[in-house]
């Protein structure tokens, strides 16, 4: 139920404990920036569950990708996954998201100079917030994509064994691969808390690096899948790491959604 300004400028600070902080669905975010001719990792807005209403004070080109945004410009329905031209004073309304939980709004231009840094955290937009984007002189030719990451049927994500996979008990390894996990309500950009717990109690490790996509298991058997705002280090065993492409699919899940792991 919120929109986050992702500046995508934190790569390299992880040695100081700063979370990666990127888009939960990186593939959809890259596509949105491509559609407006921005660099792949340019800033953009990540919309979760329910969209905002945005008034544009100047003309520009935008694109919406990811979950279906049921969006309108001045009450007229618009298409996703293609470049759209906005005129001065037009109002974009994004509704309740369907077919996923996160949509991306890219705007052609330079977002950098509006960044007044007061935190390493991504800024959550509030009512009346203004974002200044320096429009790029020349509009690009409109682009379109048929790309669609709607998940049909049961989601199975591919993963590779983590550094401690072989230290897990056989019963725990079997359970991880045989279980259909459900996202608990306390899941967010930091990590997904999964149900059910795994049967075996296992030990912890000397704290070591983790990245988004790592499945940690606490000594009580609680599975935690780390996501984009997760910590950079941890002391829980690392059972699996989800492949980056499939991590984008997981980024579209919401509490109550289910998935399972397959191992490569």
């Amino acid at each position: 139920m919120h929109t986050v300004l992702l500046m995508q400028d934190k790569i390299g600070l992880q040695k100081y404990g700063v979370p990666v902080g990127g888009p939960m669905d990186a593939e959809a975010a890259k596509l949105a920036n491509w559609l407006v001719g921005n660099k792949e990792e340019s800033p953009l807005l990540e919309i979760t569950m329910q969209g905002p209403t945005i008034e544009f004070s100047g003309s520009c080109q935008i694109a919406l990708t990811g979950a279906s945004a049921n969006a309108t410009i001045d009450s007229v329905p618009i298409y996703e996954n293609e470049t759209l031209t906005i005129a001065k004073s037009e109002v974009l309304t994004i509704g309740k998201l369907t077919n996923g939980s996160r949509a991306y709004l890219a705007v052609r231009g330079d977002w950098r100079h509006q960044d007044q840094k007061t935190s390493f955290k991504n800024h959550v937009l509030k009512k009346e917030d203004e974002i200044t984007i320096k429009a790029t002189a020349r509009p690009i030719k409109q682009r379109t994509s048929t790309w669609n990451d709607t998940i049909n049927g049961a989601l199975v994500v591919r993963a590779v064994p983590g550094p401690e996979w072989n230290e897990l008990l056989e019963t725990a390894r079997e359970a991880i691969l045989a279980t259909t996990f459900t996202l608990l309500p306390e899941s967010n950009r930091m990590g997904y808390r999964l149900s059910p717990n795994l049967p075996d109690v296992i030990t912890s490790i000397i704290s070591s690096g983790v990245i988004p996509g790592v499945l940690q298991i606490t000594p009580q058997g609680m599975p935690i899948l780390l996501m984009q705002d997760g910590p950079t280090t941890g002391g829980y065993v690392r059972a699996l790491t989800v492949l980056s492409e499939d991590l984008s699919k997981l980024g579209q899940l919401k509490p109550g959604d289910q998935f399972s792991f397959s191992i490569l």
């Binding site: 390299g12 840094k117 704290s207 070591s208 690096g209 280090t233 941890g234």
Partner: protein
């Protein structure tokens, strides 16, 4: 140097050094990380050094995991030739009871008096083994054995920024207000993160840290000079 390499998904490798907590191993981790960041800045997205491991996140469109493994093995030999540039930082801590909210609990667990806890904590030279948990949070070790303390069974909801705390055989400082399970025994007036870019962090992995005890009035005067912008930052470096 004995290391093992593990895949962390398809875009990161874990370089596992000997599994023990040792300042020399820790320095080798930092040196390898710096070497990879500087010499392969296009291919390597970021590194996460930890106690005895280095996580290397890479751009799989620019280098394969196999090629990166070779680079890492060669890097270990190159890194061996570099001398670790150790920094020593003197960090003021006010152990006043108004800040040391868990000092009584630490005394109860260790059987020491408040004075002994402060003396032991501030007379030891620590190594910054890792930065993690929160942006800029240093994991410092080893705590003198007598100070070994259990972490809280239920974390405190709000630990203040600057809180100096202990848990197990480690000590650390909270860079920002946060929930936390470590036992708080003091507070530093210094900010651990002073802006929001790569040059903003007080502690780097591998730094040696010496705490010294200051009064409440000294704490206030350091805070005042930090606010005015005339704090002598040079004074903290040994």
């Amino acid at each position: 140097m004995e290391v093992s390499l593990h895949a962390l998904g398809d875009e990161a490798l874990l370089v596992q050094f000997e599994k023990k907590i040792d300042p020399v191993i820790n320095q080798q981790v930092v040196l390898l990380g710096e070497y990879l960041e500087h010499s392969f800045s296009n291919e390597v997205k970021y590194v996460v050094p930890a106690y005895n491991s280095l996580t290397v996140a890479f751009d799989s469109t620019k280098i394969s995991a196999g090629a990166l493994e070779q680079v890492i093995i060669e890097g270990l030999h190159s890194a061996e030739r570099f001398e670790f540039a150790e920094r020593l930082l003197y960090i003021p801590v006010c152990y006043d009871k108004s800040f040391a909210t868990d000092l009584d609990e630490v005394c109860r667990q260790t059987g020491l008096t408040s004075t002994e806890v402060v003396r032991l904590h501030s007379s030891n030279l620590y190594t910054t083994y890792m930065i993690g948990f929160l942006s800029g949070f240093p994991y410092l070790g080893q705590l003198p054995k007598e100070l070994t303390t259990e972490r809280k069974s239920t974390p405190a909801l709000r630990v203040p920024e600057g809180a100096v705390a202990i848990a197990g055989s480690q000590t650390g400082i909270y860079p920002q207000e946060s929930p936390g399970g470590w036992q708080v025994i003091g507070r530093t007036p210094l900010p651990l993160v002073y802006a929001f870019d790569e040059h903003s962090f007080l502690f780097h992995q591998g730094d040696r840290i010496q705490f010294y005890s200051i009064s409440k009035s000294k704490f206030d005067s350091i805070r005042k000079s930090l606010a005015k912008g005339d704090f002598d930052w040079e004074s903290i470096y040994g």
